[in-house]
């Protein structure tokens, strides 16, 4: 356990120094209470108080569109080469919900057979977390899934103590960075201030009424036939917004593109969504998830049931993005409450 202190008026120097080593990405205000992780060069550009960004930082770990292979058909026999574009970078001010999301994806892509594009890229990314001191809005459910407090997943973690940040150093890489920056060690008074902040959060993040997280596995074990899925299906637009913005949705599609020389080309992978009409269709014509109701159910099961069996945790990080972005007012928290009510 190692804590350091950064005075708020030194933040700009910290960001600038870091930006000299590698590209730094942080939340930036986009207007209309929307935020996005973008490249920054100074602290002034960063929105330190922000609600979850439009896309989660998963875009740095598995880009929306990513090249996997280059191929060349010039000779009789095709030639190909695996490719990877993985620059060293830092993401700054990542909230605990998104740290949890990255941890989930790490598990998925580290599972055999491993995804080297993801893993090699992950190793190049330096993660700096930022603590939330209150709910960002009514759509968030981080306390419900226990993600309102840090559970690892970062190199450094910042907590606002008013005129200064207290920084938890979690990795050797993080230690080297704060030493290099010459940041002072936290004193006993700083540690006491941190304890006080955490104590205050217990009130600010009181558990959500209506959906006891401990009950959810039991609820989902019996919810396959629930009529609630049909209510969601009747409203869903199948736009895929909910899955694209989800920090733990990782389904993808792959496609080949040939260049105009008709001899060389490349293969890409793109984010895909289980909400799209033909996601589960096979070439022969059968569509194994044709109904929107089934696709919505599938999305919820991929957050609250399947990953519990496989990765021992919920894949809902409580960020609330799916509810915020839904064109059809489908609310994750309301759906959970309805499922719990139906279960009784």
């Amino acid at each position: 356990m190692n804590y350091h202190i950064l005075k708020k008026d030194e933040l700009d120097g910290f960001v600038k120094k870091l930006a000299k080593k590698m590209k730094v990405y942080a939340p930036v205000a986009k207007g209309h209470d929307n935020f996005a992780f973008e490249e920054v060069a100074s602290a002034g550009e960063i929105a330190l108080s922000y609600i979850p960004t439009i896309l989660p930082p998963k875009k740095y770990f598995m880009p929306q569109r990513e090249k996997l292979l280059d191929f060349d058909l010039t000779g009789g026999k095709p030639a190909d080469r695996a490719v990877l574009d993985a620059p060293e970078l830092a993401i700054f001010a990542v909230h605990t919900c998104d740290l949890a999301g990255i941890q989930c994806l790490n598990m998925v892509f580290s599972e055999k057979p491993r995804d080297y594009n993801y893993i090699l890229r992950k190793e190049k990314i330096f993660i700096i977390g930022l603590e939330c001191l209150k709910y960002c809005d009514g759509n968030a459910g981080c306390a419900m899934v226990g993600n309102h407090n840090p559970n690892g997943g970062y190199d450094l973690f910042f907590t606002d103590l008013g005129d200064r940040f207290i920084i938890h150093v979690n990795t050797q890489k993080g230690e080297e960075l704060v030493e290099n920056m010459g940041l002072a060690k936290a004193a006993a008074a700083d540690m006491a201030a941190l304890d006080k902040v955490r104590e205050g959060k217990k009130q600010a993040f009181a558990t959500e009424p209506g959906a006891d997280p401990k009950k959810l596995p039991e609820v989902f074990a019996r919810a396959m036939e629930s009529k609630i899925w049909h209510e969601l299906g009747a409203r869903c637009v199948s736009c895929g917004n909910c899955t694209n913005v989800c920090p733990t949705c990782y389904c993808f599609d792959m496609a080949d593109t040939i260049n105009l020389d008709m001899k060389t080309g490349f293969r890409t992978r793109t984010w895909d969504s289980c909400q799209f009409e033909t996601f589960a269709a096979v070439a022969g014509g059968e569509n194994f998830r044709e109904e929107r109701a089934n696709r919505q159910r599938h999305r919820f099961y991929r957050k609250f049931k399947y990953p519990l069996d496989k990765f021992y945790r919920s894949f809902c990080t409580g960020c609330g993005r799916c509810t915020r972005t839904c064109m059809a007012k489908i609310s994750l928290k309301d759906t959970l409450k309805a499922l719990v009510a139906e279960h009784k």
């Binding site: 695996a82 990877l84 057979p113 080297y116 792959m254 996601f279 589960a280 070439a283 022969g284 059968e286």
Partner: protein, 277 residues
């Protein structure tokens, strides 16, 4: 960055060494990999890459007992499989795999076997049937039931004639619609099951066919008191990555099955709760 060359997305190169049009829509290919054997087990599949067109999952239809190359039977269904109909000897393709859980050969050893294949289902099942024939003394009684739409849709005709002649397997076949020179059975494949003697204590039924066939064949097998765990199926889904990641082949079932990794072979007991077989 050299580490990325370990990527599981890398493709092995295969060359078509023999090809044959089997029906109007199905073509058979014998493929040799430049870097050695495919090293598959019966029931597994490969991802076939046609550079610049994409990939499609295809079940291997040859038995691993046949070494040196492997075989695929491809029905013209999607973009890639339609394109493959025009390919022939000497053409190259990319291969990833083998993928998927094979048929449980160890579990089946020492037992009677009943194979039920409908339509293109004979392709994945053939990898197991030929494996069993090549290791015939390891198994008890072997029955093969085959169904197809019309006599001209029958795949592996000459090889099937060989199975018919064997004394160590019982073979019967039916067509949905007859043709002038057809002398065999006419009717659905379910009509052949009552005629088979099944010892429920020591029989494994392996059923591969279109989704609609499973429901009716399984009902017949259950009537014969065959336990659900002794009915083996091979399910169809769009297996895109083959590595249990891309999400396309996941089965709507309380148990988070990925068809590409946890399947495509399942016991009926494992998947009976699934929304669609």
């Amino acid at each position: 960055m050299t580490e990325i060359q370990n990527s599981n997305w890398k493709l092995r190169k295969g060359q078509i060494i023999a090809a044959k049009q089997m029906t109007a829509t199905e073509k058979w290919f014998d493929i040799k990999l430049e870097d050695g054997d495919l090293d598959h087990e019966p029931g597994q599949f490969v991802q076939v890459e046609l550079y610049g067109i994409g990939e499609a999952p295809i079940s291997v239809c040859s038995s691993p007992t046949r070494r040196g190359s492997f075989e695929l039977t491809v029905r013209a269904a999607g973009r890639l499989t339609k394109h493959m109909q025009g390919m022939g000897v000497g053409d190259w393709l990319g291969i990833r795999g083998p993928f998927g859980k094979p048929f449980p050969v160890k579990l089946m050893t020492g037992n009677d076997l009943l194979f039920v294949a409908g339509g293109l289902g004979i392709a994945p099942l053939r990898s197991l049937i030929n494996y069993v024939i090549d290791n015939r003394r390891e198994f008890g009684k072997v029955d093969i039931l085959l169904g197809c739409k019309t006599p001209t849709d029958m795949l592996f005709g000459s090889e099937i004639a060989g199975w018919q002649k064997r004394l160590d397997v019982n073979f019967s076949c039916t067509v949905d619609r007859t043709a002038p020179d057809w002398k065999g059975n006419v009717g659905l494949i379910t009509s052949l099951i009552p005629g088979v003697t099944i010892n429920p204590e020591k029989t494994f039924a392996v059923v591969v066919g279109p989704p609609i066939m499973y429901k009716f064949v399984i009902a017949e097998l259950l009537k014969k008191r065959l336990p659900e765990r002794q009915i083996i199926l091979s399910l169809e889904r769009h297996m895109k990555c083959g590595m249990g990641k891309c999400g396309h082949c996941q089965i709507d079932h309380p148990k988070n099955y990925y068809c590409c990794k946890d399947g495509p072979t399942f016991t009926y007991e494992e998947v009976k709760e699934s929304k669609k077989l």
